[in-house]
Symmetry: C2
Subunit: 204 residues, 2 copies
DNA sequence: TACGTTATTGACCATACGGTCAAAAACTTG
DNA sequence: CAAGTTTTTGACCGTATGGTCAATAACGTA
């Protein structure tokens, strides 16, 4: 009996996410959101509660989407895990060298959060862990395959890849071009090859 | 004959930088700046021109300071270049795992800039290049020493280290602790040891 | 077709923001 | 000690922000 909504929540969250990705939470105005989503202010408010809550929704969606993308990219059974990571990193290099103004909502949340208590912080922290989990899974496969040493620290390597990709994102924002970013990605990947070499060089 | 100022510009820029590092450009209010610097609004405006200009000043100072710190950390002649980088990265891991809410102004500028034309973007881009230059210098020494292969791509490795440190900064914000961050730094450093190994593993 | 429920609309509000003005104060020099 | 210059002070301003209200519209159901 109630009047039905004219919109799909997921569409609204997605449009809003676009706005937030370009402007950030603080700099995005309610008007931007109204324009982008097509909803009235009050409808937005009814459905989500406010700018911040809407951002949180978009953030969760964004992080799930990012995790899903990575998981899928690294989850093919028909290719070697290390090759999948390689391809993934190269794709990231290209993506981050695009000239659009988007910044992942996780990065934005991390930078705009006001403290560790802040929901922005806790949600994006969870996102980082999700992402690291996706890498870890793939790395674990590689280890089982013997492509990584048995004593490789899969957990820290996973976090390492998250760090590198976040850094590449920032560098892309700074205008670092596709060629350099690709070289950086390739550098980053060498970690997976040189695992055993550490002791030898350290000794000199 | 003019009335002298009551403040040193560098002090003001430094206090303002503190505010910006914690809140960012958009979220820092003029009142925050007035309170932190001790100056009146109008004095601030006379001396610097406005919030944005003040941020730009703080950003330049911050990036010079960061470059100076890295250059100094990597410039000792009495230690092996690679050892210096190692020490530096481990120190960064500790710094970034601190719980304070500071974010480097370069990162903030990159995220808050509205486009490639934006002075925020151009200045922080220059900062990234300065920083990469500092790493490159040290890596070049290492190459001359024979600690890196003669054909190592010093330039991209330098950018790689900038990317990793930026990523570590973000991870620190996400609450990743000192232990994990240190492990990540050590992972990142393996790149310098495994340089020659690439072909061998790729072949399998 | 009338009722109940909820969405939508657009006007409205208080606030706090970045920025400005004009008067007063403080210092140096002649 | 007075003139001249610049800083400082604190009140002031227009705007645009995030958020709210009350009236209206639209739907499903009975």
């Amino acid at each position: 009996m109630p009047r039905p909504r004219k919109f799909r929540e997921s569409d609204v969250v997605s449009s809003a996410g676009e706005v937030f990705a370009v402007h950030g939470l603080a700099a995005a105005t309610l008007d931007d959101l109204v324009r982008a989503t097509g909803l009235g202010k009050q409808s937005l408010y009814n459905a989500f509660g406010g700018k911040r809550e809407l951002f949180l929704r978009a953030l969760s969606e964004d992080r799930d989407e990012a995790t899903r993308a990575v998981t899928e990219a690294l989850g093919h059974d028909d290719a070697l895990p290390l090759e999948q990571i390689r391809g993934h990193m190269l794709r990231m290099a290209i993506e981050f060298s695009s000239t659009d103004r988007r910044v992942s909502l996780t990065t934005r949340a991390l930078v705009e959060s006001t403290g560790a208590e802040d929901s922005l912080s806790t949600v994006s922290k969870a996102g980082i862990e999700q992402l690291a989990g996706a890498y870890a899974q793939c790395l674990e496969h590689a280890r089982e395959n013997g492509d990584l040493p048995a004593d490789a620290n899969v957990q820290s390597l996973a976090v390492y890849f998250v760090a590198v990709t976040r850094g590449m994102e920032l560098l892309g924002r700074a205008g670092v071009g596709r060629g350099v970013l690709t070289a950086v990605a390739l550098d980053a990947l060498r970690v997976l090859h040189g695992q055993r070499m550490e002791a030898a060089d350290d000794a000199r």
